[in-house]
Symmetry: C2
Subunit: 138 residues, 2 copies
């Protein structure tokens, strides 16, 4: 199993407002993707790419029952997860479980990744890690 | 002002244990720096570099009065901050303040960055951002 860093997930109440009022003026992303709606996760997602190639995933809940809504609570945003990609989701999940991580969502296909499957885990440190399977071309 | 993404800050109760038991087996960093002690911040710091070049800063409080101790609370770790570098710390702080960020520490020289100055801010989303000034050679 080889995991690679993929992106930083950041929860916001309103992607457009966050981009316009805060993120774009301060961090000057070189690209912002179109918004993608993920009905399974009940979120709306956009990727902002920084000058060094780092990708920040902005995640906005579309419904109060979305897990991201619970995370946001009365906050307007927040660091939500680190995402790593893997060539074998099953193998990676097994290895993370062996290190006492707990799957709390998925595997489920993700609209933001063209249907590639994702899994969310809690680490023993109680952080959220997302794993996404890589395209077969790596 | 140009800010560049620098690293992800991750608080842990014990850097060595976290590396040995969790981070190295799962994420296979290509490099782990020696530990540096920062008496001003009352922390011990190591940088783990991932295969893609991403740097994870591991931060361990050396004293209960360290701000990181308060952050850790009864958790054993956690995503702590995103760090960006800037060529002008004063200018960057001014721009972040204009976007309603609040400085809560610094500017102060940081042992982990060879004495370059750092500032910690709360964003309006109540996340922590660190700014570090770049070397004069960029």
């Amino acid at each position: 199993m080889e995991v690679r860093f993929d992106h930083i997930g950041y929860a916001v109440a309103d992607i457009r407002e966050y981009l316009d009022e805060f993120f774009v003026p301060l961090f000057a992303p070189v690209d912002v993707s179109p918004l993608v709606e993920d009905p399974l996760q009940q979120v709306r997602i956009a990727f902002a790419t920084l000058a060094g190639g780092e990708r920040i995933e902005l995640i906005e809940p579309t419904d109060e029952s979305s897990p991201v809504s619970k995370y946001l609570g009365d906050r307007r945003g927040g660091l939500y997860h680190l995402c790593y990609s893997t060539d074998s989701l099953e193998e990676a999940v097994e290895e993370f479980r062996a290190k006492r991580c707990m799957v709390f969502s998925g595997p489920t296909p993700a609209a933001a990744f063209g249907g590639r499957r994702i899994v969310f885990l809690f680490t023993p440190q109680r952080d959220i890690i997302e794993l996404v399977e890589r395209d077969s071309d790596g």
